[in-house]
Symmetry: C2
Subunit: 454 residues, 2 copies
Amino acid sequence: MLRKLCVRILTKRLALRNKEVAVRLVRLAVKSLSSYVGAMESLKNCTEEQQPPSLLTNSWSKKQEASKSQKPKSVGGFVLVHAGAGYHSESKAKEYKHVCKRACQRAVDQLKAGAHAVEAVTAALVELEDSPFTNAGMGSNLNLSGEIECDASIMDGKSLHFGSVGALSGIKNPVLVANHLLSEGQKGKLSAGRIPPCFLVGRGAHDWAVSQGIPTCLSEKMTTKFSLSAYKRNKRKMELAERMDTGHNQTKKRRQSSENENGSGCLDTVGAVVVDLEGNVAAAVSSGGLAMKHPGRVGQAAHYGCGCWAENACNMNPYSTAVSTSGCGEHLIRTMLARECSAAMQSEHAHQALLEAMQNKFISSPFLVNEDRVLGGVIVLRCCRCVDTQPSQNIQGLLVEFLWSHTTESMCVGYMSAQDSKAKTHISRLPPGTVPGQSLAIEGGVCRLMGVVE
Amino acid sequence: MLRKLCVRILTKRLALRNKEVAVRLVRLAVKSLSSYVGAMESLKNCTEEQQPPSLLTNSWSKKQEASKSQKPKSVGGFVLVHAGAGYHSESKAKEYKHVCKRACQRAVDQLKAGAHAVEAVTAALVELEDSPFTNAGMGSNLNLSGEIECDASIMDGKSLHFGSVGALSGIKNPVLVANHLLSEGQKGKLSAGRIPPCFLVGRGAHDWAVSQGIPTCLSEKMTTKFSLSAYKRNKRKMELAERMDTGHNQTKKRRQSSENENGSGCLDTVGAVVVDLEGNVAAAVSSGGLAMKHPGRVGQAAHYGCGCWAENACNMNPYSTAVSTSGCGEHLIRTMLARECSAAMQSEHAHQALLEAMQNKFISSPFLVNEDRVLGGVIVLRCCRCVDTQPSQNIQGLLVEFLWSHTTESMCVGYMSAQDSKAKTHISRLPPGTVPGQSLAIEGGVCRLMGVVE
C-alpha cells in the first residue's frame, strides 16, 4: 500500500535584511498525516492558496485510490533527483525532465533489485552525468582553457563515509570514482597502516580511477556542440568585458561588472537523494563547475558538507536526512549549505525549517554579506519510521518528506518511489517579477511507504 | 600592561564509549580572571594537582610583576602556532621549538608594524613552511610517487573569506597561494560576472600561483635528506606489508594490518591562529599530507571547516574564535574538527568546551566509529573585549584564551604577544602509558592585552 501526499505552498513575499525574498509555497489537500498538516499550519505567513499543479495531483490521487484496494507489499524506497538549479529554458524543458525521469527509473531499478541507497543514488547520477544537457559528466561546462574538469561526491548515511573527486578529467562518470573512494574507505586501512583517501583531485584522481577499472573517456568526446558554442560565446563576452575593464581602479570595476552581469545560467549541477528499503539514506552530486572557471578550481560538488550530505537517524537525530545542492559553488562552500539544510531537517516542521535555512543560512548568510545575488538550490529528503493505525497487521512504514528550494531562476527535479510506474518531473520557477539570488522558491511533498512484514 | 595567566590541567582518565580517554589537565593559580576560574572549577572530574612546568611559570610570573610598574601601551595582538600533532622525538625537540619561536616572531613583527591578523598568520606560516623539519612546504612528506603535493588554507575572521589550495606542487610557500586566493575573493567578481575561485588544486593551482607572481621551487629542492630517507623506509615497509597481505580475504587483512601499525608519526602539519590590534582573528594551516599518500589526495589542510576556521565576534557569537588543526586528514575532514571546535568555543568555559569537543566530536565521533585510533590535534584561540577595573583611564583590553589539545603522542606549540620579547614554546605529550588515538591532552593559557586609548 502506498500513500502519497503532495504539497505546494503559497506565494508570499518576505522582507529580509534589505533583500527581497519571495517564497513560493504551494499546498495540496493533506490527508491522514497529522505531522505534515501541523507543519503546514505553522507557516503563519501563508494566507493565499493556489490550485496545485496537475503535475503533482492527478496521478497521485488516482494512485491513492487504487492503493486502498491493494494489499500492502514491501517497497524498495524513494528517489528525488535534480538536474540543477540555474536557468532551464522552455525549449529544453522536455529534455531536462526526460533525463530526471530516466535517472529516477535507474535508481528505482536498483532499489527493486534490493540494492542499498548508495548504489541507487549512484545509478541515478550516472544517468544524469550521461545526459549531454546537464552540466555534469558528458556535456560539462568548459573551463578557461576549454577543458572539462569535473567534481563529484557521495555520502552514505549509514556508515557516514564520504567519497569525493575534484578537477577530474577524462573519466566519463566522476560519481563512480567518488563511489569507489567511499567503498574503499569503508574497507579500513591500506597496507602498512595507511589511511585510504576520501578525496582525490586532478591527475592523481584520474590515475586512481584507471587503476580501479573505471571507464575513461577522451575530453573531446565529453564536449558537446552546446558546451563548445557556450564556451566560445563566454570567451567573447569575457574578452569584451576585460577590454572595458582596462585602466585604473580595478577593484571598483570588478564590482561594477558583477552588477551588470549575473551568471545564473549554466549552474546546472546534478544530484540525487535516496532512501532504501531499510531506511538508509544516501546523497550524491556531480558537476562540471562554473563555465569559464580557472583550471584546477574545485566547487561545492567535491566539498564535504557543501555538495551533499546524508545521515541516518540515530540517538541524537530522530530523522534520517539526505541533501544535494546545486548552484554557485563558492556560495555553497562558504555557507556549507548541504550540512546546514541537513541539520535544519531535524526540526519538527520540515519545510518551515528549510525555508528558514535558505533565508538565514544562505541568502542572508553572514558568510556572503558582500554578495549581491546568492545563487543555489537544494533537494532535501527526510524520513522516519511511522506508527501505523493497524499495528496488528505487522505493517511497517516510512514517512518520507521531500522538498526542493532554489534562489536561481529555475530548478528541475524528478521523484519516484519503487511502487510508481514512472517518475514525476517538474521545473520549479521563481514567481514572475522576483529577483534571482534574492528570492526563493520552495516546494515539496510527502510520501508514505508501507509494506507488510512477512 | 600585560597580564598573562597560564593554566595546565590535571591528569585524569575518563571512560568513554569503551575507549580509554586520558585527559591531561594541569592547573596554575589564576588571578583576577573570574571567568577562567569558573571554567576551571566546573571541571568536576579533576581532583589531582600537579606542579606546573617551569616553562609556563617563571618568566610569566616575572613579567606580571614587571608589567605592574609599567604604563599600559597599545599592543599589537597575539599569536599561537603549532608545528604539528604527531610524534616529536626528543632529539629534534630543539628544532621544532626553534621554528615555532621564529614563526611567532614573524607574526609579531607584522602585528607591530600594524598588519592585520591575516597577514600576521601568513607570515607565521611562511616561516613554518620554510623549516625542513616540518611537514609543510620545504621538507614535506613524499607521496607514493616520491613527489611533494601540498595543501594549505587560510580564513579571515572579519570578512569570513577563505582561500585554499590542494595537491599543489612546485610552489615554495603554499600558504601564499591560499592568501592570494582569499584576497582575490575579497575583491569581488571577475570580468563578465565570473565568481573568483576560493579553492584551486593541482596543475591549475600552480599555474594560477605563477600568474600571481608567487615564487616557484623545484620539487627536488623541497625534498630533504630526511623526507627522502623516510620515503625509502616507508616504501620498504609498504612492500613488505603487501607481500604479507597476498591471498584471499583482503578486507580482513587490511583491517589487521591497521592494528599492527599506526602512522602516528609524520603527521606534523603546521598552523597558526592570530588576533590583531583591532580584535580581528585569522587562522591558517599547511601540510605536505600523509606520508605515502596517493597522488592527488587532498587532506584537511585544504578543506573548508576542517583545516582552519576563524570567525570574528558578531551578534550571535560573543567570542571571536580561531582554530587550526593537525593530524590525520581523513579523520579531521569527516569530523569537520576546526569548525566544531570553533563552535564549541562560544560556550562559557573554553577549555571544558574544547575537552568535550575533542571527546564527543573527535575521539568518539559517530563519523569515526570504525576507527581504532583517531589521530589529531588543534590549537584554539578565542577572545572578547574585557571591561577594565579602571574605566576612567580609557583603558581598552582584549581577553585572549588559548588552548591546544591532541590525541597524538605529542604536539609542538609556540605563543607570543606583541609585547613579549620572545615566544614561549612547548612540546605537549600524552601522559605515560596512555594510548595515542584513544587519549587526549589539553593545555592552555589566558592572556590579557591592554592598552590606553589616546
